[in-house]
Symmetry: C2
Subunit: 361 residues, 2 copies
Amino acid sequence: MKDNFCVILAGGVGSRFWPYSTTSEPKQFLDFLGTGRSLLQMTYDRVCKVVDKENVYISTNRKYKDLIREQLPSLPESNILFEPSVRNTAPCIAYAMYKIKAINENAKIWVTPSDHLILKEGEYIDTVNRGFQFVAENDCLLTVGIKPNRPETAYGYIQIGENEVDQNLFKVKTFTEKPNVDLAKIFLESGEFYWNSSMFFWSAKAISEAFELYMTELARKFSDGKAFYNTPEEQGFIDKIYQSCTNNSIDYQILEKAQNVYVITADFGWSDLGSWSSVFALSNNRKDKNGNVVLGGRAMTYESHDNVIALQNGRLAVVQGVENMVITESDNVLLICKREEENRIRQFVNDTKVQVGKEYL
Amino acid sequence: MKDNFCVILAGGVGSRFWPYSTTSEPKQFLDFLGTGRSLLQMTYDRVCKVVDKENVYISTNRKYKDLIREQLPSLPESNILFEPSVRNTAPCIAYAMYKIKAINENAKIWVTPSDHLILKEGEYIDTVNRGFQFVAENDCLLTVGIKPNRPETAYGYIQIGENEVDQNLFKVKTFTEKPNVDLAKIFLESGEFYWNSSMFFWSAKAISEAFELYMTELARKFSDGKAFYNTPEEQGFIDKIYQSCTNNSIDYQILEKAQNVYVITADFGWSDLGSWSSVFALSNNRKDKNGNVVLGGRAMTYESHDNVIALQNGRLAVVQGVENMVITESDNVLLICKREEENRIRQFVNDTKVQVGKEYL
């Protein structure tokens, strides 16, 4: 257990939920499901059931320091890793890995998003334990594939190899981008394709070798700092080298290139909560009799059904004659949009930046 | 001119515009038409073109003191009359009248709402001057009837007598309630019916005699305070007697009973701005190319037309796929409602009070 570490990635800005989710308080810090705990808090609670608290790290942007301290008061401040700028997953995973490796050469590292939903915690914990075990015994990079139940076009897929190397565990044949709906149907029917959950397991040894092989320059930058990790000099060192890192994802730069990539398949009630529609679909237990979901504040609805209404705390919405809409807001922005058009929200964010100004983001 | 006084009634709560208009900042204090001046300020500006500033009084609720001081900094504080509670028009007109009469027995008093729109100021000023002149020369109560241009069902009507006693000036035959649409059409075609603008002219003598005759008890209460008006004791006296006044309107209790009631007919581009639809109709010059009217903040619209969007200052609305709606808000309430259902807003206010609490009003 002492060799098992977890890195929770919590630096995202959640623009698909703008303006309810803003750059000053993004998705992972919000209580999307009315449980009283934010997505990050729920992730942390789950992780702590499997990994010793002192081995849990959170990678985030510096501006979220106060939010994290507030939401996770028991997390030691030294376990928060601050990215000086947004550089996608490869640099922040490299940073976390070299820092952990400096503590424990034998570390096994689990990397997980902070803003996903898990409904079946028992199955989830079983998968995590098997993941740690597999990467302890095998010099490999392990991904987690979720058994698909619909031809989802919003997720990437992992195709499994033909032979099961262990129970529910396969070599990865290919990673695929988000498919169109026809292809997604074929994926679903084939039984060979699983949703990419963006959770990974690996030993510090295996992932550092992969960085050295496929991202040599990045690996050199971070390994050069060995003497600084876990010292007062660490942040200064990171601040210095981070600017020079390019935006790269661990998926493209390593997982799609490496030869020792495996996938453990699972079915633990997973959702990336990537859209209002997924929040809507997962909120059946709190819909009113007309199918409206209300977050944040409260609502009085008349002739209105199947809306998602996500308000600032303490606000009241009175809604008449509205159906299938997303109604959401921040301090200074109100967004009203058809649910089926929610994939345009990112465009609205860009339009706002250009036409109105960054102060609304 | 020194005998001419004006009383601007500014105590209403504007619930038809809730929550954009709230009890803490009602309709008359808001800039509904994007002119940079509130309806009260525009009313005051117009009144001061005809009446000496020191003769202009504003009757309001005490809680609006700061708003009035802020919006009308040149108005002497002694010219603000505070109603201790809401008692409809008869008590507040009686109060203003007895106070003014204590200053000037020969006063001619013009009573006007604070929240109406006047488009043709020249014609309006002519009407006001003629009104003052008529009540100076005749011991009567004079109302102002607006020439109707449509079968409006939201207004009361005044039927004129057969003989023109002066140019555009008639004895009143009847006052009528808001008619249904069939009756309103008959009114319009008859040429005998005019919209009741709720503006009145009378001499202090004529209206005090009418109070003594038709509202004897109320007249006695206010005339008993003769020694207190325009002294430091005035407010204390008013606070004491006001609680015992009953809710009564000047229309029902005096104008519909008195025998010396006249009407001057006019056509000065009047609207009572009584609904979002009237604001919408009068905002043609500031609609965007899709017919959306935006007040308060700013809006970016997509596939959205003919909406009224009334926001808190500084807010941005991003609106997609919405048509013919009212979207409006206060600090803590968001209202979305079909424009054609806006007459239900008062019901929503009541529902809110009952179901959620007064803190949202």
